[in-house]
């Protein structure tokens, strides 16, 4: 029977199947950890007297809870400092590779994995973070897990899983000017809804995804979880191989050739079937923005907030719009914005920063807007400085911070105040996600840059060169 990409990688990682239970002992190649979801797992392993089974397959970084200013100084906030110190102690004790604050490789876990070449096609990758789906951009099975599962992987390098259902989302055609990877995925999520892919593993196919760079593909796969999917993946191709070649942990020499030969077999075969399929036309996609409190509540930036909501969903819909201070049928054009946040594992890579810099060069942010850019990693930050992006941003009134998850989830001090509107390149617009009472509008880095300059929501298609 013809196999899907998911089938091929899944089957290659089944240690054994449990007869009659529909469960597989599933092998994990790479386990990424960070300070927030690992301490209780280390405690659990220690309490049970279990050793770490394959520590060489683990990599740690500090990202969720780190300040984005003065990272060379001790962390001021005591609880954050304690949590980050705990990660350092745990990694030292168990001899795990740690890219902590001050390390040249530190950054958001889903930014550093790919840029270091740790993430490779055909792998299985887990992390105690739902956006682990990002790594699927390389044709890997990558998904977020809870802390109990972090402990399971620490103890056995496996998880007990039932194979997820398969879904293919095909987008064909060329996108219109001003439409980026972020707009494509926000469009797809707006069509499927926030739980539309729950229980499924998604493969993104079609010329619109093929045309994306690796960074664009990462943005797409990153947000798979926002429609409930466990993960998302794109078959590896020349774009993937070109991106990986020469990265610090990518295979070298003869092993590179062997790897590429294997990676080239990782695609969905003709005639393979999916349990669910969706097809969209790239030409239907416009620059997107969200207006509500889940990522499925998105629309074209020049559209009006939908009024046709099923009866069963009306209470939640009204609650959401009330929180945002919006009304059904309203347009967001002209709406004044207080903050612009460019960062997160969705959009903090060098191409994102380049796109922002290119637009804001020679312009100024609106005086009432606070515009913050947080690079995804130390390497992105370094690259941005080498290219002079830092100077362009500073001249335009943007504040370039140090790497971390920052105001995407507002665990550190980077918070949007109650009631304030923030156009954000992150992945979630949940109530209070960016700080208690904050109001988030998700968008692409290009929309964010233009919003920062104009100080309000505009139809960006009129602002492109």
């Amino acid at each position: 029977m013809a196999k899907t990409l998911l089938d091929k990688i899944w089957d290659a990682h089944v240690v054994k199947s449990i007869p009659g239970a529909g469960l597989d002992v599933f092998y994990i190649d790479k386990h990424l950890i960070h300070e927030v979801t690992s301490p209780q797992a280390f405690d659990e392993i220690e309490a049970r007297g279990l050793p770490l089974f394959r520590k060489k397959q683990m990599v740690a970084t500090a990202d969720h809870n780190v300040p984005t200013k003065n990272q060379h100084l001790p962390i001021e906030e005591p609880l954050s400092r304690f949590q980050v110190d705990k990660l350092t102690q745990n990694c030292a004790k168990h001899n795990i590779e740690l890219y902590g604050l001050g390390h040249q490789h530190q950054g958001i876990v889903h930014v550093i994995g790919p840029e270091l070449g740790l993430t490779q096609p055909g792998m299985t990758i887990v992390c105690g973070d739902s956006h682990t789906s990002t790594h699927g951009a390389f044709g890997a099975i990558a998904f977020g897990i809870g802390t109990s599962q972090v402990a399971q992987v620490m103890a056995s390098q496996t998880l007990l899983l039932s194979k997820p259902k398969s879904m293919r989302i095909t987008v064909e055609g060329a996108v219109k000017p001003g439409v980026t990877a972020k707009d494509i995925i926000l469009y797809v999520i707006s069509k499927l809804g926030t739980g539309g892919a729950t229980g499924y593993f998604v493969e993104y196919a079609g010329s619109a995804f093929r045309a994306l760079s690796m960074e664009g593909r990462m943005t797409v796969c990153n947000m798979s979880i926002e429609m409930g999917a466990r993960g998302g993946m794109i078959a590896p191709d020349q774009t993937t191989f070109d991106y990986l070649k020469g990265r610090p942990f990518a295979p070298q020499g003869e092993r590179w050739e062997q790897a590429v030969a294997y990676w080239s077999t990782l695609f969905t075969e003709e005639g393979a079937s999916f349990e669910k399929e969706y097809t969209f036309d790239a030409q239907d996609i416009a620059p997107m923005i969200t207006f509500g409190t889940n990522p499925g509540m998105g629309m074209a930036i020049d559209a009006v907030i939908p009024t046709d909501v099923p009866v069963s969903e009306q209470a939640s819909y009204s609650k959401s719009l009330k929180y945002m201070g919006f009304a059904p049928g309203e347009s967001l054009l002209g709406k004044q914005i207080d903050y612009v946040f460019i960062g997160s594992c969705t959009n903090s890579r060098i191409e994102d920063l380049r796109q922002v810099a290119k637009y804001v060069q020679g312009k100024q942010k609106a005086p009432h807007v606070e515009a913050i850019i947080v690079p995804g990693s130390k390497l992105v930050e370094k690259q941005a400085m080498e290219e002079g992006i830092d100077k362009v941003l500073a001249a335009a009134g943007f504040e370039l911070r140090e790497p971390g998850c920052s105001a995407c989830l507002a665990m550190n001090e980077d918070k949007i105040p109650a009631g304030a509107y923030c156009v954000s390149t992150s992945n979630r617009n949940f109530e209070g996600r960016q700080g208690p009472g904050s109001r988030t509008l998700l968008a692409s880095p290009l929309v964010a840059a233009i919003t920062a300059v104009e100080g309000k929501i505009v139809d960006i298609t009129h602002y492109l060169n």
Partner: protein, 198 residues
């Protein structure tokens, strides 16, 4: 993990759809490094105002409702993988969450912590909300052994599905670690079959 067989309790209704884990436990409360104490901040920003005072209109502050069963709208637990969400619900005294749909990661996390995610149809969920609104003292019986949700006042037993392995784990208080660690030989054998991979 605590064992779970049968629970009889009143219930707390939360008829909102797509409740994400950021609502269940906001990120700023994830700084603790142990599993305990998250219940205090369960639904923090719905439950308390900025000054830390209870919001009268939130159900957990409504004296008419109490119990160990949370009944919530469709697509409960979407968003972040934080297991702290399951810990917070459990820590606040709940043993069961009833909804018509659960997000994957939350569901797994709940099961790994002795918190039963019990899925019913949209129709049953709507009837439960109406019932709890009419009578906050309504008692529900969750029988995991028979896989039935009993609503005595309706004289109905509603069957529910659960993975057979997970059911066994919950009834006996087992978790996956014990099982997986015992697979060591098979795992090492598997690793030897693909030496190029590491």
């Amino acid at each position: 993990m605590e064992k779970f067989e049968i629970l009889q309790s009143t219930a707390v209704p939360l008829p909102i759809e797509n409740i994400d884990t950021d609502q269940i436990i906001p990120a700023r409360f994830l700084k603790a490094t142990s599993r305990e104490g998250f219940g205090e901040n369960l639904f923090r920003d719905w439950r308390f105002d900025n000054a830390g005072q209870p919001k009268a209109d939130f159900v957990l502050n409504n004296g008419r409702y109490s119990g160990q069963i949370l009944v919530a709208g469709k697509n409960f637990g979407c968003g972040s993988s934080r297991e702290h969400a399951a810990w917070a619900i459990h820590d606040a005294g709940f043993k069961v969450v009833i909804s018509s749909f659960f997000a994957d990661i939350f569901k797994g996390n709940a099961l790994n912590n002795g918190l039963l995610p019990l899925q019913v149809s949209d129709e049953v969920l709507a009837r439960l909300f109406a019932q709890l609104e009419a009578d906050p003292q309504t008692t529900l019986v969750v029988n995991l052994v028979n896989q039935e949700l009993e609503v005595p006042v309706w004289e109905e037993r509603i069957p529910f599905a659960i993975d057979a392995y997970k059911k066994e784990c919950m009834i006996n208080g087992y978790d996956d670690i014990d099982f997986l660690v015992n697979q060591k030989e098979a795992i090492e054998q598997y690793e030897k079959s693909r030496p190029w991979a590491y």
